[in-house]
């Protein structure tokens, strides 16, 4: 096999892996949109907040230390403990559930029946709020995220040597796949299986689907909308936490983590706002598409380099790809067919 093809395959495979990471973020959007019709702009900030909370609990940071110190004149920063990652994860899930309850109680309960644009706007307010709140709570320095299930078995990072060597023996060139990406893919698959199982085989899951189908009908058979919405926001919070861990492991936990939402938007457009398989497939298409475009035309590696745009095309290409796609299929790949009546 020629080197060129191996390289292209390598880009393709890494695109798929990036796609999984995008899909992880997009999943959170879809869950909330499907159940309540809210386009949750705060999903990225929720990932940031979740990851910061996880690291904060792990390292025994005192929440609001800066504020407390400024007001009371104390000098506290740390409780002086380090908590096991899994335990910290459980605590963080607890915090995310509390957040979901608070969001439902203080924001969306008062906005029932408003137009979608108003609800969208509220989530933007929420994003602002959480952004300031998480910095206030855990300060704005970069935190290193180490997620270890047990001593020595941490979230892996770096090139997978086995694949690299196998490729080297087979084609004479190595093949790069990041271990973190492999674990992210495994986690994503598990997450989707768990979500599907939850929504198919549990009572709450079925109630969730009922609400997604028709609010009025669900209400009339005695499903508590309030409870379901809290549930959905909690699940979305958990998905945000997973996405935050995966992205934060690479870059450290810091403000920019909230910007991953921008990576998920084209995925949503492509896959449709209401479809979980859409988010996955959309993520994969976007991931592969933008990586291959950058490889072929962004840096001029294909077709003898006829087109070389000078790189950094990924940001807009994802959107343009989605846009072109939408022109032909306005509801996205798996979105519900839009039926318009007068």
């Amino acid at each position: 096999m020629s080197e060129q093809i191996v390289y292209a395959l390598e880009v393709f495979a890494n695109g798929l892996m990036s796609g999984v990471l995008y899909a992880l973020v997009a999943l959170g959007f879809v869950l909330i949109y499907k159940a309540s019709g809210i386009f949750n702009f705060a999903q990225g900030v929720m990932a940031l907040f979740a990851a910061m909370t996880l690291v904060g609990i792990q390292n025994g940071q005192v929440p609001f230390a800066h504020l407390i110190n400024a007001v009371l004149g104390t000098h506290i920063h740390h409780f002086g403990w380090h908590i096991h990652s899994v335990l910290a994860l459980i605590f963080t899930v607890g915090v995310m559930i509390l957040l979901a309850v608070a969001i439902q109680r203080f924001v969306f309960r008062h906005l029932v029946g408003q137009e979608p644009i108003i609800l969208f706007m509220a989530t933007i307010g929420l994003a602002y709020f959480l952004e300031g709140f998480s910095d206030l709570m855990w300060n704005s320095e970069i935190k290193t995220l180490k997620f270890c299930v047990a001593e020595g078995t941490c979230l892996p990072q770096g090139m997978n040597m086995a694949i690299d060597e196998a490729a080297y023996n087979a084609f004479g060139t190595g093949f790069f796949i990041d271990n973190l990406d492999i674990s992210a893919a495994i986690v994503a698959v598990m997450l989707v299986i768990a979500l599907v199982a939850f929504s198919q085989y549990t009572k709450q899951g079925r109630a969730m689907r009922a609400v997604a189908d028709d609010h009025q009908a669900a209400l009339s058979v005695g499903i508590s909308l309030n409870f379901i919405w809290i549930l959905v926001w909690s699940v979305a919070g958990f998905v945000a936490l997973v996405a935050g861990i995966m992205w934060g492991a690479k870059s450290g936990v810091q403000f920019s983590l909230s910007l991953i939402a921008l990576k998920a938007l084209p995925v949503l457009m492509l896959g449709g706002f209401t479809s979980i398989p859409g988010a996955i497939v959309g993520g994969l298409i976007i991931g592969v598409g933008e990586k291959m475009f950058e490889y072929c035309f962004g840096t001029g590696q294909c077709f003898g380099g006829i087109i070389n745009l000078g790189g950094a095309t990924e940001n807009w290409f994802a959107y343009v790809l989605a846009l072109v796609f939408l022109v032909f299929r306005p509801q996205g790949l798996f979105g519900e067919k839009i039926i318009e009546r007068v």
Binding site: E141, E294, T299, G311
Partner: protein
């Protein structure tokens, strides 16, 4: 923290006449995507002036005040900060953002307030003949680019022809700065340059690093800032690029850039124009007068970090320029205009730095009317992941003035003709 809080309130209640102080506004960013870089710099800048106040009673006996204004690395807020502080008698501005710098160059010139952009901003401002109120001593990005190439020349026995160098850069005005210089140097030294832009914010760099993996450059240079640094170093480690061949600019070489990658970042190098670590007598004073006295800026946990030292160094240069201005004009209460004269006559010698408790903290240099950029000496630091310290592995050395000088003359000439600026130095 509490002390700042209390003194600030006390200051307000007493309605102290601020005009009597020497005012050094600190346009900082402790929030937003670049907070991790902004916090240590702002802490270092403030702490040095606090030290002068506590230990020496200010500069030449006049107290110093450092009003802080949060820009969030945002140009509009930067303008607001500038306008709100310039009325308080601000002596010099250090905006710590290339975007804000560009805005303030004409404004500060019109308002007769000097601006110091240390290791950032508009490189051609080194030509004091055109940019009368902008200073960028002791070094600029073009010095940085040339310094990096010189370091490679040195380690390769003076010949890097045929070597491949890849530049990974933030796709913005800042990141594009070194390209021209590197292209000129490429012609001169015969190396092969490839450019890899990374779009803001830079969380996703797989394409760029896969390309590096394919092309196998001998060296990678990086002009990054914010999350881009951490991700780039992590990705370099992932593809097993040898870290000692990976050189970042001074804004890509602080503790928080390498820590997330852990042990795998060991050996990563960064350019610098000032020394690193806390192995200087001045830190004992800072500990005694500032930290232990509870007067440290921010959380007080940044002392000795690379960017903290940079803030400290910027404050030191500003204080020395103020002293020079006091000498020239024979008055303690200097104005911004006098400060500018002081900056233009600034001379930093080894003895001066040693007397300040900062021996070999930066290069020795002098500023003149024509040359606002200083000598452009560049050193190299390296990260040791096991002891979690940066250390200077190559002392401050001269850069290729022939190449850079021509570029500066060209760019500043264009600015001068575009804006009808007359010669400042005659």
């Amino acid at each position: 923290m509490k002390k700042i809080f209390v003194t600030a309130i006390a200051g307000l209640m007493a309605a102290s006449p601020v005009m009597a102080d020497l005012v050094f506004p600190s346009l900082s960013y402790r929030t937003g995507p670049y907070a991790a870089g902004g916090i240590p710099f702002a802490d270092g800048y403030t702490d040095y002036f606090t030290l002068l106040n506590e230990r020496d009673g200010g500069i030449g006996g006049v107290k110093v005040s450092v009003p802080e204004c949060e820009t969030g690395y945002n140009t509009e807020k930067g303008v607001e900060c500038y306008e709100s502080t310039k009325g308080e008698g601000a002596l010099v501005y250090q905006p710590l953002s290339t975007g804000i710098t560009y805005q303030l160059i004409p404004k500060t010139t019109a308002d007769d307030i000097p601006m110091h952009t240390m290791g950032y901003g508009r490189t051609s401002a080194a030509n004091g003949d055109v940019f009368s109120h902008t200073f960028n001593y002791p070094g600029s990005y073009w010095n940085g680019a040339s310094g990096g190439v010189n370091y490679l020349l040195e380690t390769n026995g003076g010949d890097i022809s045929g070597k491949k160098i890849a530049l990974v850069y933030h796709n913005s005005a800042y990141g594009k700065e070194p390209i021209r210089t590197l292209e000129e140097l490429q012609k001169k030294h015969g190396f092969e340059l490839s450019l890899l832009p990374v779009d803001h914010p830079g969380q996703e760099q797989k394409s760029q690093w896969l390309q590096i993996r394919r092309e196998k450059p001998d060296y990678v240079m990086m002009w990054g800032w914010g999350v881009m640094n951490q991700v780039a170093i992590q990705e370099a480690a992932n593809i097993r690029f040898p870290m000692e061949n990976f050189i970042g600019i001074w804004w890509s070489g602080a503790e928080h850039d390498v820590l997330p990658a852990g042990d795998k970042a060991n050996g990563y190098k960064a350019l610098t124009f000032h020394n690193v670590g806390r192995d200087f007598p001045v830190f004992a004073d800072i500990q005694k007068y500032v930290v232990d006295a509870g007067k440290a800026a921010g959380a007080g946990d940044q002392v000795g970090n690379v960017l903290y030292n940079r803030g400290l160094y910027a404050a030191m240069l500003a204080a020395e320029a103020a002293k020079t201005a006091q000498e020239i004009h024979g008055t303690k209460d200097i104005t911004a205009s006098m400060m500018r004269d002081g900056m233009e006559a600034l001379e930093i010698t080894e003895e001066k730095m040693a007397a300040l408790g900062m021996p070999n903290f930066g290069p020795s240099f002098s500023v003149s009317c024509e040359n606002h950029g200083g000598p452009g000496l560049v050193g190299v630091t390296q990260w040791d992941a096991s002891s979690k310290t940066w250390s200077l592995i190559s002392d401050f050395k001269a850069t290729d003035i022939d190449v850079i000088g021509a570029l500066i003359a060209e760019d500043s000439g264009a600015y001068a003709s575009e804006n009808n600026i007359a010669s400042n130095c005659n």
